[in-house]
Symmetry: C2
């Protein structure tokens, strides 16, 4: 939850020590700038080596402003991960609608996110942070549960929809690890079409078969 | 390749500066002690923060001896990863034999390795190193290719056996990420039997169906 700003109107100055960049608290886009800096810092340095101070410096603001907009380090991380995961949030929409082809739609959608380096690199940074730090893993877990898993389960008319969604997501995450992180051939050079052609039916079974 | 020791017999001292621990070069088990120290250092600190010096200190030997037995840092890392991956090397044997049930045997075998924290934690450390450092990813890739993938492909009587093996392995790696790293429920608390019951048929298709 974002703590409320004491004053939302641009004119009155806050009492006490002024922010490092005069007027930054009131500058439009300060919150967005902090969030973008947080995403970049976490993506480049990882969870452990990122600090509120480092984010503030990258955004050109006082650390107090980072706390003000976002709260603790874990809350900043959560906001940054939300931003990084945003492209993946369309997965429930991909599955929505006709049961036929749902598996292929999900596979194609998620591979689209992984194939684009602009969306892929921050996702890998989030995976790395989760592998390195339990607090980061917990933040990621909470976000996926609240923002992705529940919505995905709503789209699936099968028993144990959360388990089904995780079987499907797990499959694609693992293929992504081989393809983009370890770079194993032939997976690394296969076309997305070839991968979707074989993985799509697997996801179709997980997402739509009444008994698996 | 292990460079040859100038002298294998315990009695003659090496010329020049003596090793930090007198006689360590000749002590039985020095190589094993170094390898164990390397595995622990890489597992705890990760690839970037591990050094030949740190490994030598942990093993109680001179850094020159580490170079002597293993070579460069990447070669030490390769040896440590080979040790860490050793439990997983039985996967081709699990698939060997009757086509029927091959998928379930592979799933059960690999989950067995992941379920045991003694074998799981070093594997996660290797994944973390690969996610963090390209050189580490390249070492892991080469090892899996030479020691695991080729042998697995030999067991599979289907077109594109390497691709099939990677579809199967990718599926399990991704489930492992959700279950052990991110800790997503219900996957994290599901029984291995329940997971194998649904993933086994998927792997069966990948490993044995002539057309997928």
């Amino acid at each position: 939850m974002t703590p409320a700003l004491p004053s939302e109107s641009p004119a009155p100055r806050r009492r006490g020590r002024p922010p490092r960049t005069e007027g930054a608290a009131d500058a439009p886009g300060a919150r967005d700038r902090i969030l973008a800096a947080a995403r970049n810092e976490f993506a480049e340095r990882g969870y452990d080596k990122t600090s509120i101070r480092g984010i503030a410096k990258a955004a050109g603001v006082d650390p107090a402003l980072v706390h003000h907009y976002f709260g603790t380090k874990d809350q900043v991380f959560g906001a940054a991960v939300e931003l990084i995961l945003a492209p993946a949030m369309g997965a429930p929409d991909a599955v929505h609608g006709s049961r036929e082809g749902a598996g292929e739609r999900m596979a194609r959608f998620i591979f689209g996110v992984w194939e684009n380096p602009v969306t892929r690199l921050p996702l890998l940074a989030v995976m790395r942070s989760a592998l390195t730090n339990e607090a980061a893993a917990a933040v990621l877990r909470g976000l996926i549960e609240r923002r992705l898993l529940l919505r995905m389960a709503e789209e699936l008319d099968v028993p144990d929809p959360e388990f089904r969604a995780q079987l499907a997501a797990g499959h694609i995450i693992g293929i992504a690890m081989l393809r983009y992180v370890i770079g194993m051939e032939p997976m690394a050079s296969a076309s997305v079409d070839d991968i979707v052609a074989v993985v799509g039916p697997t996801l179709q079974r997980y997402l739509t078969d009444d008994t698996i």
